[in-house]
């Protein structure tokens, strides 16, 4: 028997416990490519969350009528529909942002987070839980991208969201807005995340011993 998970937990777990970037290490391609600035990270995070939430809800609500042989094909159809909607809306309403993110919006189709959550969660749980799970994972992804984008933009161009945060005396680290900067920053963040998890585990162990 699986122990029941509370609804809030269903959302919260995506933020840290199974964070798509820091814990599942999924969706690395957009993560590394678009996070040259905070606004790009935010836009990519929002677009992915939108697709994730809507496709999870739809997939969960039709999970009982989709035959297992064609489930992946059906999921991809649903996901790509939402991705195309996002792409068109962004082109129509936010042309600048759409230009900055380039091909990475259409590429949300193949983002493993979305198919991963559809396969691992939405196809086995009810609509409400799938909605919360998708929202949690989306938020986790968004936060990670925002942190990554902010750090890279700050060190690479002295700004965050286009607002100058570092003094002019600071020489921008050009490498931070190049692909190498993405790998360095992500590597360090993953390292910190792992160290923190280990530290937490040890603390829990100790408290068990004391008891």
């Amino acid at each position: 028997m699986k122990k029941p998970v509370s609804l809030t937990q269903e959302y919260i777990k995506g933020l840290w416990e199974i964070n798509p970037i820091f814990k599942q290490i999924l969706g690395m391609c957009p993560t590394l490519a678009v996070t040259v600035s905070a606004i790009n990270g935010l836009a990519m995070g929002l677009a992915t969350t939108f697709v994730l939430v809507f496709s999870s809800v739809i997939i969960s609500s039709i999970r009982k009528i989709v035959p297992s042989q064609v489930r992946i094909a059906t999921y991809i159809l649903i996901i790509s529909t939402f991705v195309t909607i996002v792409d068109l809306v962004m082109k129509a309403k936010f042309p600048e942002l759409s230009k900055a993110l380039g091909p990475f919006i259409p590429l949300i189709v193949v983002n493993c987070i979305i198919l991963g959550r559809a396969e691992a969660f939405a196809s086995r749980n009810n609509v409400l839980r799938s909605f919360l799970d998708a929202l949690g994972n989306g938020s986790g992804f968004l936060i990670a991208l925002l942190v990554l984008g902010s750090i890279r933009e700050m060190l690479g161009t002295r700004t965050i969201f286009g607002v100058q945060v570092l003094p002019n005396q600071f020489t921008p680290w050009m490498v931070m807005i190049l692909p190498a900067g993405a790998f360095i920053t992500l590597g360090l963040l993953l390292g910190f995340a792992n160290a923190f998890t280990k530290w937490q585990e040890q603390k829990n162990k100790k408290s068990v011993l004391v008891r």
Partner: protein, 186 residues
């Protein structure tokens, strides 16, 4: 058999709903996207031909070019959108040129994916300003390291020769096509 029909009907239904949704979204978005593109182009034209008041497209296949007019509807020159290969990908730019195809008014880079910090410096004023009233007779020349000796020379950006040369080549190519066109016209 029953299973097969089930599979086919689920996939068909999903695809149909998806197609219908996308068609309606596209219906709404298409005019907006076109409007954005036109707005971007006209903004760029007035940027490279600041004294222009109106423009008209020139019927050319190889080149997207516009003839620009002042307030009295006199032709004062051209604005040309052209693209070519840069260091990593396509560079798309727009430049303005006078009526006799002799001097460039100004240049703007519309799209580029050059290396940030090196090739991407082609979008900075330092580089673009070199094109202000630059002579294109007979062509624009790229020089490296030394200082300018003639008024048809552009200095390459240190560490980004390929990107600098790409911009010059794109402009030269566009002017070549435009010259051919204006000869035919006369």
């Amino acid at each position: 058999m029953k299973k097969t029909i089930h599979i086919i009907s689920v996939l068909t239904l999903t695809a149909t709903i998806s197609a219908l949704t996308l068609a309606s979204v596209n219906n709404w978005a298409k005019p907006l996207i076109e409007e954005n593109a036109i707005k971007a182009i006209s903004e760029a034209i007035f940027q490279v031909q600041p004294s222009a008041k109106s423009y008209e497209k020139i019927p050319l296949d190889e080149l997207k070019a516009f003839e620009v007019f002042d307030e009295n509807k006199n032709s004062i020159g051209y604005a040309v959108v052209h693209q070519g290969n840069g260091f990593q990908g396509t560079i798309k730019l727009i430049f303005g040129i006078d009526k006799n195809l002799e001097r460039i008014t100004s240049i703007e880079i519309l799209e580029q994916v050059e290396t940030p910090g090196l090739g991407s410096l082609i979008t900075e004023e330092n580089y673009k300003n070199q094109f202000r009233s630059l002579s294109v007779n007979p062509v624009i020349n790229l020089i490296k390291g030394k200082s300018k000796t003639a008024d048809n020379q552009v200095k390459a950006i240190t560490g980004a020769t390929i990107s600098s040369r790409a911009v010059v080549n794109i402009v030269n190519d566009a002017i070549r096509i435009l010259r051919k066109y204006s000869k035919e016209e006369k």
